[in-house]
Symmetry: C2
Subunit: 249 residues, 2 copies
């Protein structure tokens, strides 16, 4: 945790008391004591510092109380993701990483090779995925929570909702068979760098040819990671890292 | 698995029979049948194809027999890594990804913030880590196995072994506080692109200032991923992905 994030409901008159994993981290890793100043922030709000004004290191129920000064704007998300989800176990590991890297809006879509029982996963409950996203933000030191939406009907989503949800985006579809990488194209189009990237990443078995064609018909261009075929979660982080560098985010 | 890899000891007169996870994959995912041609390869050897000439789909002990034609050179590793290891659980997830991305030589070093009990982890036994590396190669479709070495005495390793083990490398140390990214520097030095990169990545708590200075004194320059602080395994994949793009590997 590189920043302790607080729910707005936890902060009253500039003071917040928290327990659980955050308190254990402050007490055991940061060796928190009265007067110590922590990096803190409000989820979906501003960031800044919190001075420790009270604490209890009891094993049963440790807690920390801070007085917050949150005056600074958090670094904002800079990329959106349309993801045909991998297995819940893989997805669970991926979510904090997506939040940390700066994904703003995450839409999980029902591509053909997505396992049908994914859509019943408990991971899709906000009570489960929200803390995972917050973990990622606390790691990265930012505070703006990504949104997560599901669209099982991939075709209808592309046809009816895509343009309204993601206007003016630079649309890229991850595809091993692409010959041009994003960097090649960027050299031929100086305006690209001003548009927010929207990345479509296929399921563990890949997009079908139909799905790639459909994405292309909606303005997505193919983007390759190179000749090695990476696992979907590795590929997702790798592509986002490459874009992060291209876009200097 | 995008390529089935075989131990050289498994191949006799161009024919190999294998069971276990590889056989299950061929039979259940690839719907293998007699005459079908698979992508295969020999670990640390050449790659090519294997025609299925026998199989048993028995639940207890499935096996597949292939006649191999391995005439093609595998894509070779292109980067080396000095890694202060994260917890074994994280390391275990990272190993296949490192092999898939193309790491050639991996040296695990004892930086100050590496947990002492890491060095007793069963993961360090070749019988445990080797299959994980092979999984990564089978994902990526390559066949050259990374080597894994351990050097608990980080200072002695840098002083006495580094130059002999990694001559002429472009040395980069991952450090959040770096101001220049690799790309910035590359523009000022056209020869960099010809040197094999050697990346030093710190432990979960980061390198100490002393350690960074020591690396700098050995020719490592600081390399930043950007303003977000990523978890060590995410950062490792992200940095390698960015270098992969820079070096066009």
């Amino acid at each position: 945790m590189n920043r302790i994030l607080l729910e707005s409901s936890e902060i009253r008159k500039g003071v917040a008391t928290f327990g659980g994993a955050r308190a254990v981290h402050v007490l055991e890793v940061l060796h928190g004591e009265i007067g110590q100043v922590l990096k803190t922030g409000e989820i979906d709000g501003r960031i800044g510092t919190g001075e420790i004004i009270g604490l209890s290191a009891s094993d049963d129920d440790p807690w920390v109380r801070v007085r917050c000064e949150h005056a600074e704007e958090s670094r904002r998300p800079w990329v959106d993701l349309i993801l045909a989800p991998p297995r819940p176990r893989v997805m669970k590991r991926l979510l904090p990483q997506l939040a940390a890297i700066g994904v703003g809006r995450l839409v999980l879509v029902g591509a053909q090779k997505v396992e049908k029982d994914f859509w019943g996963a408990t991971l899709l409950k906000e009570a489960i995925y929200r803390p995972l996203l917050i973990d990622g933000l606390m790691q990265a030191g930012t505070s703006i929570l990504p949104t997560l939406e599901t669209r099982r009907n991939f075709r209808r989503f592309l046809r009816e909702e895509l343009d309204d949800m993601f206007p003016g985006t630079l649309r890229l579809v991850a595809h091993p068979a692409a010959t041009a990488t994003y960097g090649d194209r960027r050299q031929s189009s100086a305006v690209d760098g001003c548009r927010r990237p929207l990345l479509a990443i296929g399921p563990e078995g890949g997009w079908t040819d139909d799905e790639v064609q459909l994405l292309e018909s909606r303005g997505f261009t193919r983007h390759s990671l190179g000749p090695r075929i990476l696992r979907t979660d590795t590929a997702t982080v790798a592509l986002l890292a490459q874009l992060m560098k291209e876009f200097d985010r």
